[in-house]
């Protein structure tokens, strides 16, 4: 049987994982044996023309994608806000899509200059166990000073990061246990942060952004081996959370504004600081405004009010949207450097994947209208009649 010359097995693994499929489920989808999928992926065998066509449909990627060599020098996987409970499938999906995001960034870097990386570099111990809470608090304060933020709430954390050369993307991670991740491949490349939009909470997303910023600053020189050690990984996460708390709610500015550590007060301050009530309770405990017992009661009261499931105002605060990647593509198209078709052809990726990773409007590259759910309509028999008009009687004077 004639295979597909130039087929790259790793691309198949990437596409399969990005779609959240196991080898067995993909095999079922294309009507093949799971061993065939394994053989394709490890390069022992390449798919026939028919199998290739079915893979293209099942994985929703152009055929060229499977022929594209993997980029050289893939850095060691540096994963941060992947909670310990994240499933292998969720991580695999995120990792595959992150690889595409990096390819998009590399592609854009050929044509545009992103804002220069302007993230402060602090001399910190390489051993994460030697990073103290005081160090984190001081660094968060110094970061605010470095970016001239004072002690006020930050209007847009994502914009702050993008202004300073951090590439930010936002989208669904389709996993309850994954919130966000970040990577700083090396000093010459722009750091990348991906924020999950699954939780639909602007306040939480801001915390995620600051959390990732904390990793980029605090753990820049930390050995990647530490991430695979569960104890150290937990410590690393705690440190990033502390940084996010201190960065979003500076001790001075927040304590000055907080008149009473009650749920009502937290709620009143939420639209101003754009920080979750839960984060404010934790911050109050960190700052010694409330003790452990008061914090425990606050959590109980939050549960009683149903705020642990969904906090008030989460449906009203708008999430901060990244703009740098979107603007870069718009620049290429508007300036006539590339057409949307050329971009798709160059990147050899499904247009919808590029659009979602670069936060472009759906259909920007493909020209296809986004899928819209059909709204229920009145039956024809009900629509045919004319409506009744109620006549208002004039008020007597």
């Amino acid at each position: 049987m004639i295979g597909t010359p130039g087929f790259v097995g790793e691309r198949l693994t990437q596409a399969r994982e990005a779609r959240g499929l196991t080898a067995v489920s993909l095999a079922e989808l294309i009507g093949a044996k799971s061993t065939s999928i394994s053989n394709y992926e490890c390069g022992r065998q390449s798919p026939s023309r028919e199998a290739m066509e079915r893979l293209v449909i099942a994985l929703n990627q152009p055929a060229a994608f499977f022929l594209r060599p993997m980029p050289p020098g893939e850095p060691a996987d540096i994963w941060w806000r992947a909670m310990s409970s994240a499933t292998k499938s969720a991580r695999g999906r995120a990792q595959a899509r992150h690889a595409w995001l990096r390819e998009i960034v590399a592609y854009l870097s050929e044509y545009v200059d992103f804002p220069a990386v302007n993230v402060p570099d602090f001399t910190l111990p390489v051993d994460v166990q030697q990073i103290t809470t005081k160090m984190i608090e001081d660094i968060a304060t110094e970061c605010r000073s470095f970016w001239k933020l004072g002690t006020a709430p930050i209007a847009d954390i994502v914009l702050l990061m993008e202004n300073n050369g951090i590439i930010v993307s936002r989208g669904e991670l389709e996993a309850e246990s994954l919130d966000a991740y970040s990577q700083r491949p090396n000093d010459s490349e722009h750091p990348i942060v991906f924020l999950g939009s699954d939780k639909a909470s602007a306040a939480r997303s801001r915390h995620d952004a600051s959390h990732e910023l904390g990793h980029l600053i605090l753990h820049r020189h930390v050995d990647a081996k530490n991430i695979r050690n569960p104890v150290l990984f937990k410590l690393i996460e705690t440190q990033a959370h502390r940084f996010a708390s201190a960065f979003n709610l500076p001790a001075q500015g927040f304590a000055d504004q907080l008149w009473a550590p009650t749920l009502d007060a937290f709620l009143a301050l939420k639209p101003h600081w754009k920080v979750a009530i839960a984060a404010m309770i934790m911050r109050c405990e960190q700052l010694g405004i409330i003790n452990e017992d008061q914090a425990r009661r606050s959590w109980i009261n939050m549960s009683r009010r149903g705020w642990r499931r969904q906090e008030p105002l989460d449906d009203r605060l708008t999430a901060e949207e990244p703009r740098l990647l979107r603007r870069s593509f718009e620049l290429l198209v508007d300036e006539g450097i590339k057409t949307p078709e050329q971009i798709q052809s160059d990147l050899m990726l499904n247009a919808a994947d590029i659009e979602s990773l670069a936060c472009l409007a759906p259909g920007y590259l493909s020209g296809e209208a986004p899928d819209v759910a059909a709204m229920p309509q009145l039956r024809e028999s009900l629509r045919s009649g004319t409506g009744n008009v109620l006549r208002f009687t004039p008020r007597r004077g």
């Binding site: 847009d156 504004q257 009502d264 007060a265 009143a268 009261n301 620049l331």
Partner: protein, 250 residues
């Protein structure tokens, strides 16, 4: 932010309703310290009242019975002290039945009395004196139903307004004899009763009122605007290539 004048605590953008004007009036008439003092002392006062109610010579039942009366004494006294400390006029007003009196505070045409209630939205127990006080709010009725439709906004000036300062809190644990007030359950609110004293026209939490002070005065904590500099720039060689391509076509 642009404001309506040096004395206005609200930016024009936020002046959307009569509620804002009334809140502005409250913020302008009552010092912030009056509210923060009440908030800071609230739980302690309740706790003192509980301690005073409990006595060796009677059981928890008697203690529970006398608690509202003792608490009222502590609260009225605290209300008066807070008013005096903040430079407000305080009066001891006898009730219509002359069975007791209550502390009344006046501040720039605002009349305030304090009331312990079970919940933040609960109405104060019916009393002839309160009905008479609430009668001063009659002029407010015309604004309430169409508060969002009024444009331009009415001039409220120095017309009198009667406010109920509502407060309360629950025991931390109802299953035991532990008589500790849960600080998280404590509330303090500023409510304007309607003329007939049957419902509240407005009922703001102390936190909402304090946020109005913060908005008004504390410009240092206004959100730090971030200038949009997230702009990609074309690389120099791309520009050059584009020019060359254009030249070839010509």
């Amino acid at each position: 932010m642009k404001s309506d004048g040096p004395d206005s605590p609200f930016p024009i953008e936020r002046r959307k309703s009569v509620a804002h004007i009334l809140l502005e009036r409250l913020v302008g008439a009552v010092p912030k310290e009056f509210i923060t003092r009440l908030l800071e002392r609230q739980q302690t006062i309740y706790q003192q009242a509980i301690a005073k109610s409990v006595d060796e010579s009677w059981t928890t039942i008697e203690a529970t019975n006398v608690l509202p009366y003792i608490r009222r004494g502590f609260c009225e006294s605290e209300f008066r002290k807070a008013g005096i400390e903040c430079g407000l006029k305080t009066f001891d007003m006898p009730h219509v039945g002359e069975n007791c009196s209550c502390v009344m505070i006046k501040a720039n045409g605002l009349i305030l009395t304090e009331h312990y209630v079970d919940g933040p939205g609960q109405f104060v127990r019916d009393a002839e004196s309160r009905k008479q006080n609430a009668a001063v709010n009659k002029w407010l009725d015309e604004f309430v139903d169409e508060r969002l439709l009024i444009h331009p906004l009415p001039k409220i000036g120095r017309k009198p307004i009667y406010l109920n300062v509502l407060h309360g809190g629950h025991f931390a644990n109802s299953d035991t004899d532990s008589l500790t007030i849960d600080s998280a359950s404590c509330f303090l609110r500023f409510a304007i009763p309607e003329e007939g004293s049957k419902k509240y026209l407005y009922n703001w939490s102390a936190q909402e009122v304090l946020l109005a002070y913060a908005t008004a005065a504390d410009t240092a904590v206004a959100p730090q605007a971030i200038e949009d500099k997230a702009q990609p720039r074309k690389k120099a060689q791309v520009l050059k290539l584009k020019k060359n391509a254009a030249g070839n076509i010509e």
